[in-house]
Symmetry: C2
Subunit: 283 residues, 2 copies
């Protein structure tokens, strides 16, 4: 394993205009939930999306590997000279945001994790927040840190739900097996008196109904895709970088592999037909 | 995506002796079921195992990507000058065996797929064989081809069971959710009157009991790990390459990533404590 010394890497710098695209990346196609939310909030923006479908999933892998992959991902998006970068992958947001920020230089970076944490802190009344995510995200404790940076009084309870990603990708949205597994994963968190639950993985909105039913009534669900779209709109407005165009266009999709089920999965995540997709090499 | 022209690649050639190791590789750690079976059949052999844990799983990915990864994997094992290569990955056996054979030159290659197919053909009485595997393995139709090459009279029914890998890796060995999913996956194949079922993925032996209970009594289960171990013993005996040593030693393990759960998974697959593991870079 080559350990890259990220501090030696010069930031990639380019000129940005309101017409520049917004770059979004994820370990696979789960980040399409973020693309959908950003399109809904900012329909005039051009979006370049990269999904590392050749090396998905990142969730069960080590921090060293996740940081290396994050650097490769950002290098691909930077070729398109984006005006900002959205890290749609919670695992990268948790374990490699500094790598992305360093490579992006003055280009602003928004990670789903911080955006989700901010919205959860605003939403909670009783100061008890639940977070569910992949093994790597939960083990990193990054959500608890981000939440407690904003309010150290808040109690955070976390639970890794590793099977939610494959269940969502297989389309077992309301399957009894998914209900059984959700009941088991959420059993402990249900007893902790939380009033807010963060979906700390971009795949989880696909299973939102099962999660809502299992966790019980009266708990506010925070979808980090929606949270990041809100934060993006705010940032683009403040920086006067909103695209003035009145046209809308489909996202420009880049992937490192074209799996057999790509078209089915695209429809599952986006609810629309697959546009053209470009294959890129991550080595 | 760089498409490698594998016909231009010179075969890697080296001298082999009975003391040379047996090289085994898989997309991840599922191939450890093959290591265990080979160790049981040939306890004196030195085994070098490479698991591409940084890029696992291969099953849902495209053929182009699987072939590229297979070439990287074999290049790593060839550094150890093995006397033979076992492709423990059914997906690689189905979609990239020619790439491996070309790179190995005169070094013999055994793929789990052909070994499993041979054993199934010997086992069936009514000439109806079922095969279960990953999406890529089943879509390739490679098991049906290998079986029908041996006996064109045999009817093969196949079923992709994509959730079996994550369920096994999460240790949900006899969980009600696994039973539910197995019931659904195997519902159609159960009605086809098969007398033999091939476990066409190295993870599936972990779920053998649930699969056996679900498919029903009187159906012979073919574990491709055991099949490949038998074939290996036969080949080493015929080529007079059996290691004469009386000592046994643990396998030399190489992985491209050290995931958080590696130690737990090793124990699940091997039933013994984790030996030293070496990290290698696949780029």
């Amino acid at each position: 394993m080559t350990v890259v010394n990220f501090s030696d890497i010069p930031a990639m710098i380019h000129k940005v205009t309101p017409e520049s695209p917004i770059g979004i990346f994820d370990s696979g196609i789960g980040g399409l939930t973020v693309v959908k939310a950003v399109q809904a909030a900012l329909p005039s923006e051009r979006i370049i999306y990269f999904g590392d479908t050749a090396r998905v999933p990142y969730g069960p892998k080590s921090q060293v590997t996740i940081r290396k992959y994050a650097f490769d991902d950002i290098a691909i998006l930077m070729r398109y000279q984006p005006k900002m970068i959205i890290v749609a992958c919670n695992t990268v947001s948790a374990l490699a945001l500094d790598v992305v920020e360093k490579a992006c230089g003055s280009i602003p970076v928004i990670g789903v994790l911080k955006a989700g944490a901010e919205l959860a802190v605003k939403a909670t009344i009783n100061n008890r927040i639940g977070v569910i995510g992949t093994q790597a995200t939960i083990c990193s404790n990054a959500y608890a840190c981000a939440i407690n940076m904003l309010n150290p009084e808040i109690q955070v309870v976390s639970q890794a739900c590793p099977l939610f990603v494959p269940l969502a990708e297989e389309g077992l949205i309301e399957h009894p097996a998914t209900q059984l597994i959700a009941t088991e994963y959420l059993a402990e968190i249900r007893t902790k008196g939380i009033d807010t639950l963060v979906l700390g993985c971009t795949h989880y909105p696909i299973l939102r109904r099962v999660i809502e039913e299992t966790i019980g009534q009266g708990i506010r669900i925070i979808d980090s895709a929606e949270a990041v779209a809100l934060r993006t709109k705010q940032l683009m407005t403040e920086s006067e970088l909103l695209n003035p165009s009145l046209k809308t266009c489909p996202p420009h999709l880049l992937v490192s592999d074209l799996p057999q089920k790509f078209s089915m999965l695209y429809q599952l995540f986006m609810g629309s037909e697959l546009p053209d997709v470009e294959l890129v090499d991550v080595g």
